[in-house]
Amino acid sequence: MDSTLYILSFIAVATVATFATRVIPFLFLSRHHEHPLLLHIGRYLPAAVMALLVVVFLIKSASWSAPAFGADALLPCAVVILLHLWHRNALLSIVTGTAVYMAIQQSGLTTL
């Protein structure tokens, strides 16, 4: 297959596969949107997914060996939590936490 044709068909296939994962629940479950089980999932799944994304990405953002032992990501995480409980200003919490994380990562402290 010629390489332009290959990448175009690649993109088409990847597009269809990704869209399929997003559209399937709407195709097959739309009629049952008032079923108590789906209402239960709909109410609680977002919170569960948010918490699991935090844990998975925190683990990946941290350096777990010496000298950081995870503090390079857990410290900015604590900053975001405390700031958000205190001011409840999403943008302030996110920008400050990210700045702290960037400062730690760029300082080279984690790779001493």
């Binding site: 559209v23 997914v49 919490s93």
Partner: protein
């Protein structure tokens, strides 16, 4: 465009620009294709991890069936996201198909956590604008990264933490709205288990399946308790 709406998407701008650029740089340094294929993928596929995986699949000239399976499995967690939006997207008309297309982790997080004070139709229009803004940030990142290639000059190391911080903030907001900790523990423990037991590529889907299973068990428990009280 409403300023408050734009503010809600700013954390995603900080996350998507550098991540999109990372994909773009990877694309233009690993592959021998014109730069504009990178933003084209951002327009039609719109999936962070999926597009980064795509670079290695293209480099290996993977077969198209293999590509379909790999992309479907990698994004399979999105199968569960729709479950909680069946009602919210109902009656959104022509916008609905785009709202579904744009359900990335970040868009899903924002759309399920943000306050919805207005009439349903207005809020669906706002959901649509948020999704469109998010995709614009992503496509811009893909294009910039692919154009600059190796010449990215500024040190943005760590800026992608904006997305982790966004998820932390949204977890707190979810807790404040629900007043219950069970789903948070279910999600956090599922993630810890999945990271401990599964290879990196299957951790997210594994965690989503475990968390959904925990919610199913909770649902059955609640129902049995109700039956015991009323029966």
């Amino acid at each position: 465009m409403n300023a408050a709406l734009f503010r809600q998407t700013l954390p995603i701008l900080f996350g998507y620009l550098p991540l999109g650029m990372a994909f773009g740089v990877l694309f233009s340094t690993q592959l021998d294709y014109a730069w504009w294929y990178a933003p084209l993928m951002g327009v039609t596929i719109f999936a962070g991890a999926g597009q980064i995986l795509a670079v290695s699949l293209i480099a290996a000239r993977a077969g198209l069936l293999e590509v379909f399976v790999a992309m479907f499995v990698l994004n399979a967690r999105h199968l569960f996201y729709g479950l909680s939006l069946l009602g919210q997207f109902r009656g959104a008309g022509w916008r609905k198909i785009y709202l579904i297309f744009g359900l990335t982790d970040e868009t899903y997080s924002l759309l399920t956590s943000r306050p919805r004070p207005g009439p349903r139709e207005d809020e669906q229009r706002n959901d649509f604008r948020i999704t469109l803004l998010n995709q614009a940030y992503w496509v811009a990142g893909c294009a910039l990264g692919a154009l600059l290639g190796d010449n990215v000059a500024f040190d943005s190391t760590g800026i992608e933490f904006a997305l982790v911080a966004l998820f932390i903030v949204l977890t707190i907001e979810q807790y404040k709205a629900l007043g219950e900790t069970f789903p948070l523990w279910a999600g956090a423990l599922s993630a810890a288990l999945a990271v401990a037991l599964l290879p990196a590529a299957q951790q997210l889907i594994g965690a989503v399946i475990l968390a959904t299973a925990a919610l199913l068990i909770q649902y059955r428990r609640n129902r049995d308790n109700v039956e015991r009280v009323h029966g």
